[in-house]
Symmetry: C2
Subunit: 67 residues, 2 copies
DNA sequence: GCCCCTATCTTTAGGCG
DNA sequence: CCGCCTAAAGATAGGGG
């Protein structure tokens, strides 16, 4: 976006796509946090990507002792 | 954010909070759409708020004939 | 691959009709 | 309440080490 506008389509180059994912998922989770906190609402999100083993889950799920 | 910085805390004034919600949830869903499209990943989000009757669900769920 | 920089694009608070 | 405007804050592509 900055140095170049964003084109609303798949980023073809895999390296670029991964870099973009890394930056954007962070921004996305921040936005989620802000929306929840500023506006006093409840929400959840889950992101599956080939870039992390575990899905990203929002809000954080605290691991309780499993059984 | 613009005219004033955002303070990371509940917006106390109810009217302001609702206005903020209305703007932000839109931006949030757009970011979700971008993340999904640009980076070729799968994700879902759900937002409960007192400002809409139905929860906002991402991605769109097409209503099939209910039984 | 990572983190850091920064120019530039995008989002949005506050205000008006 | 809703939609539009605009300045300023925030996000981020591209590049460097």
């Amino acid at each position: 976006m900055p140095r170049n506008k964003v084109i609303f389509a798949l980023i073809e180059n895999e390296t670029d796509r991964k870099v973009s994912y890394k930056k954007r998922h962070k921004g996305f989770l921040k936005k989620a946090q802000e929306l929840m906190t500023l506006c006093d609402i409840e929400m959840a999100a889950i992101i599956y990507s080939p870039y992390s083993d575990e899905p990203k889950v929002f809000p954080m799920v605290l691991q309780s002792t499993p059984f």
